[in-house]
Subunit: 220 residues, 2 copies
DNA sequence: AGCAACCAATCGATCGATCGATCGACAAAA
DNA sequence: TTTTGTCGATCGATCGATCGATTGGTTGCT
């Protein structure tokens, strides 16, 4: 479908050059249509950006909520959240980069709406940490700062991950879970917990619905 | 001086709207000169960006090297690095944001040069973690991944810090040091280390040379 | 079956606005 | 008189967006 082709082209270019540096004609060229054709599928260039960001954030949010519904222990939730976030940001690097770096290009209502999605997601992390604190399994001085640190550290994966890199996605995902558990000093019986102590359901990735970009990669 | 005024204007706008979204005329307006005058002080718009990024990265790098010269123990070095990085990114938020988000706008030689500065800085972190591993004071599965995680988590401060926020810069800086020490599981005598165990020289900020933006803020 | 009416899809041409950058003129300072 | 700083005017290129025309497939009426 042409529409999908246009969205994929925009996604690639927004991620590589940034929203402002990408022209309508760039997208048209990449999608192998004329710039006029673009306007048959969208109203403005910003609409493309909004669609990408909404899709990415909503999918992440849905997956996160499913994780919370499946797992109870805060240390399990945290590890699964890290795996979900890291894996999402690696598999669909392009969408993740756009979501994380092009927020300032948004204007008006959509800006507020996207900000709301993001803070809703942050709140889920906040609750996990609070839960872990109440159960005495985490040791955290400041929950809000810890959430910001954890999120930022996991989000960074999108900036450097490559399937050809020295570490597999699974290694990275597990390693980041361990670092997160260490950061909050997750302990049971006075022993520092690692992800291998938690027996999470096989691939935590099981929950993951494909993102926009990942979906296109499947049925190509 | 007019030149300084121009650089400050560019810094503010690049940080707020991004390099590509900022026009020459925007900068001229903000600096209260005409766009022609800009070209008396620079050759291209990209030169402004390069100057900002070089200044920021080089100052950070110099300060980091001084920290390494003053402190020996890896846990001290790590805590001081975190404080330096966090404090830099909070005090001179604008420069930090530009350095961290506008790399892709660079072209040609400068792109390579800036990338070299950045990787040189990363290497210092790498050495600290390796040192801590060799002394058995850190527990880290994968040093490179840990460096990326730590850097990303500290860099994120520039995105949300505000002097009017609920936490003082000192609180944030100390808190992030503790989280970093926890992430690498820094231990002496089997006891998890915190920043208060390390008796660092009074303000670790002592080493900090002012950045471009911070400097202008001083003699204003 | 055949024709008319419709509609989604695509195009080339082009709009006014703005882009980064240049030029020569003019004024103040050295 | 030369140098340094500043300006208005303007360059060609490109920007996001719009327009009417054309195509090809689908529907509905006879």
């Amino acid at each position: 479908m042409t529409k999908e082709k246009i969205f994929q082209a925009a996604l690639r270019l927004f991620a590589r050059k940034g929203f402002e540096a990408t022209s309508i004609r760039d997208i048209a060229l990449e999608a192998e249509v004329t710039s006029s054709t673009l306007y048959h599928y969208m109203k403005t260039k910003e609409d493309l950006l909004v669609a990408i960001m909404q899709e990415g954030l909503q999918t992440l949010l849905e997956n996160a909520k499913e994780v919370l519904a499946e797992l109870e222990a805060p240390e399990q939730q945290l590890a699964a959240f890290v795996q979900l976030h890291v894996t999402s940001h690696a598999i669909d690097k392009l969408t993740a980069l756009v979501v994380d770096t092009e927020f300032r290009a948004l204007t008006g209502n959509t800006r507020v709406e996207i900000a709301r999605l993001r803070s809703e997601y942050e709140l889920l992390w906040q609750r996990i940490l609070t839960g872990g604190l109440e159960q005495g399994v985490f040791t955290i001085e400041n929950t809000k700062l810890a959430v910001l640190a954890l999120l930022q550290m996991c989000t960074g994966v999108a900036h450097w991950y490559s399937p050809d890199g020295p570490n597999s996605l699974e290694e990275i995902s597990l390693n980041f879970s361990d670092m997160a558990l260490a950061l909050v000093q997750a302990k049971r019986n006075g022993q520092q917990l690692t992800v291998s102590d938690l027996d999470l359901p096989e691939p935590a990735r099981f929950f993951m619905k494909p993102w926009l970009g990942a979906a296109a990669h499947e049925h190509s």
